[in-house]
């Protein structure tokens, strides 16, 4: 696949604070790429560099083979969906969508045809004459999408476009955006801090933190084979343990040796081990590789979430069976469910679930995070 956008060794800092630090990224033509990370990780800055609103201090931006560092936004064939939509309040829906074409002095007939097509695409037929201030958040979002797409961009940049919508609407719009991307075959670069959104929509997920890319991969790669403790912790729930790689396919933790599917580490190299809560089997204590005591159980609808104390380390396990608090259970882990990662700067930052409580769960909820960000 051809690269449509290439970022090479990009660095940006504002007021002496480093925002991006040596970022390399290639985006393929027609791909749905998501930049995922916590606030302040540099994902929006990356998007604004592609849009032309920020010139990097160091590094190069290429569209195809052409270096575009100095090309102003209005000369780039990319369009942006802004976080707060940024519709023009003095123009009605029709004129908002027509804006780009009016600037380009397109013919009246062509404008009318394209606006009609775009409004049909986003299900806003009949809204032409409406003032944008009378529209709901979801409708404004659709106008913003139609307005950007009316310019026929090669690449569409989306800056947390669904962050201001409620959960139900957000789910619907996720599906709709994905369909639009598929049917038009254009490249989407999508910024979000919502991991679920990233996993369900993207072809490629770029996980960022601290101005650097932590991992690039397909959603399944990112989830099943995180490359460091940050990615493992940020995407989904993880039990992250200290381990020692005894030899290829053999990793030791809690004083026990487990078979795994990872190789290529040094002999006796210290590593981080990730086990997802849903990948752990609960068995009779005598049959388990490890034995622990249940300290907490929470009903989650589809499953129970239980916290199990194994030699002082609190595991999170998701299971469909009820296990009473203080019962003793055995734990078994299949070799392919063990993900071994090299030690990184993030090692040891994410402990076990000993501080886990419902309250913390709520704080980590993307919805609550949204409210705080506004």
């Amino acid at each position: 696949m051809k690269d449509i956008i290439t970022l090479k060794d990009i660095a940006v800092s504002f007021d002496g604070e480093t925002i991006l630090d040596g970022l390399d990224l290639s985006i393929h033509d027609g791909e749905f790429v998501t930049l995922l990370g916590p606030s302040g990780c540099g994902k929006t800055t990356t998007l604004r560099i592609i849009g032309g609103f920020i010139t990097p201090d160091r590094g190069d931006v290429f569209f195809g083979d052409q270096r575009v560092n100095k090309v102003p936004p209005h000369k780039r064939r990319v369009n942006t969906i802004f976080q707060r939509y940024a519709l023009f309040p003095h123009l009605n829906v029709y004129e908002n969508v027509a804006f780009g074409m009016r600037v380009q002095k397109k013919s009246k007939a062509e404008i009318a045809e394209t606006v009609e097509k775009m409004l049909a695409l986003v299900n806003l037929k009949g809204f032409e004459k409406r003032a944008v201030s009378t529209l709901s958040g979801g409708q404004q979002q659709r106008v913003a999408i139609a307005r950007a797409l009316a310019n026929n961009p090669r690449v569409l940049l989306l800056d947390e476009p669904l962050a201001a919508l409620d959960l139900k609407l957000r789910k619907d719009m996720q599906v709709e955006l994905k369909n639009i991307q598929k049917s038009l075959g254009i490249t989407f670069v999508y910024v979000t801090h919502d991991q679920e959104e990233a996993l369900s929509m993207s072809d490629t997920v770029v996980v960022m933190d601290g101005g650097r890319i932590q991992q690039i991969g397909t959603p399944t790669d990112i989830y099943n084979e995180p490359q460091n403790a940050f990615v493992a912790d940020f995407i989904g729930e993880s039990n992250i343990l200290d381990g020692i790689m005894r030899e290829d396919y053999l990793v030791e933790f809690f004083g026990k040796t487990f078979r795994c599917v990872d190789c290529g580490f040094g002999k006796d190299e210290p590593v981080d081990v990730v086990v997802r809560p849903e990948d752990i089997d609960i068995v009779e204590p005598e049959k388990g590789d490890l034995i622990g005591r249940v300290t907490n159980i929470t009903f989650k609808g589809v499953h129970y979430e239980i916290i199990v104390d194994v030699k002082g380390f609190k595991w999170m396990i998701q299971t469909t069976d009820f296990h009473a608090v203080d019962s003793v259970i055995g734990i078994m882990i299949d070799p392919q469910e063990i993900q071994v990662m090299k030690k990184s700067e993030y090692s040891g930052m994410y402990g076990d679930y000993s501080s886990f409580s419902e309250e913390f769960d709520e704080l980590a909820d993307p919805e609550a995070e949204n409210g705080a960000a506004q």
């Binding site: 936004p73 209005h74 990319v78 519709l87 309040p89 003095h90 804006f99 380009q104 003032a131």
Partner: protein, 288 residues
């Protein structure tokens, strides 16, 4: 419920009655009555120097040229103020919050001083031995005879009323989001296009308010014209003043003049409002 809210409006109603309705009624009364309190059109006719017995108008004796002269100076003042204030207000609105506060403060500061004092200051600045002439004298120019010309009056008016143009402009411009400007750039608009298609239309309410707030007081101003323009020509405000406190007061003609001026200004404003067709979005700024 309704009774209650009506009662709450009573103080405002009384205020309006005493300070707006009664004065206008008095102006109307004086304009259309003679010394004996009988209805007459003589006062209005005198403004146009219309002689009912001959059925013709003596233009050179009328106040029409004074009224036109005042409207002209008011128009000049408004246009010049707008040209100065627009870019200034825009750059203030794009500055950081701290700079914005300071700049708005600096704009408002002169408004806290008595306007007579400010006009006197301008007078001494513009005089033959004033700072301006001393300065250009350094380069071998001048001295310019600005004082006692129309230019001096307009300079004084612009100086006095500029804040009333800047503030309404600033208050609408500060609401134009950075993201709307970026969205326009993103859609292919260059700097000029962003201005014409986004910034200018969004600042129309501010422009209209600014025009109103500068044009109305500068047309009807008095004292400024005598101080800076000499006594060669009077503005309509000076004439009206002289009709009430001058050597030969004539409250009837003075009231009639006020009335005519009021109607003319009202017509001018109505013309400006025709420009503002865009009623479909939230308007900002101060409304008169």
């Amino acid at each position: 419920m309704k009774k209650k809210t009506t009662a709450l409006a009573a103080p405002f109603g009384i205020w309006m009655a005493i300070f707006t309705i009664v004065p206008i009624a008095m102006v109307l009364w004086f304009a259309f009555t003679d010394a004996n309190g009988q209805f007459t059109l003589a006062n209005v006719q005198e403004i146009f120097a219309f002689d009912p017995s001959k059925g013709e108008t003596l233009w050179e004796d009328s106040f029409v040229s004074t009224i036109l002269y005042s409207l002209w100076l008011g128009f000049l003042t408004t246009v010049i103020s707008l040209i100065i204030a627009y870019p200034l207000a825009f750059s203030i609105s794009r500055a950081t919050e701290r700079v914005q506060l300071t700049m708005v403060m600096l704009v408002m500061l002169p408004m806290w001083m008595n306007f007579l004092l400010r006009t006197q200051a301008i007078k001494s600045l513009l005089s033959e031995s004033g700072l301006l002439n001393q300065f250009i004298g350094l380069f071998g120019f001048g001295p310019l005879e600005i004082l006692n010309t129309d230019a001096a009056i307009v300079i004084g008016l612009v100086y006095d009323f500029l804040p009333y143009m800047i503030l309404p402009l600033y208050s609408v411009m500060v609401k134009i989001g950075k993201s709307e400007i970026e969205a326009a750039q993103d859609l292919g608009a260059n700097t000029f296009s962003v201005f014409r298609r986004v910034v200018l239309p969004l600042s129309v309410p501010g422009i209209l308010n600014g025009i109103t707030m500068v044009f109305v007081p500068s047309v009807s101003t008095f004292v400024i014209s005598t101080l800076l323009g000499g006594s060669k020509r009077m503005m309509i405000g000076d004439v009206i003043e002289s009709m009430f406190v001058g050597e030969a007061p004539n409250m009837g003609v003075g009231s009639a003049l006020s009335l005519v001026l009021m109607v003319l200004i009202f017509l001018c404003m109505a013309c400006t409002r025709l420009v503002d067709k865009s009623d479909d979005y939230e308007k900002g700024g101060l409304t008169l």
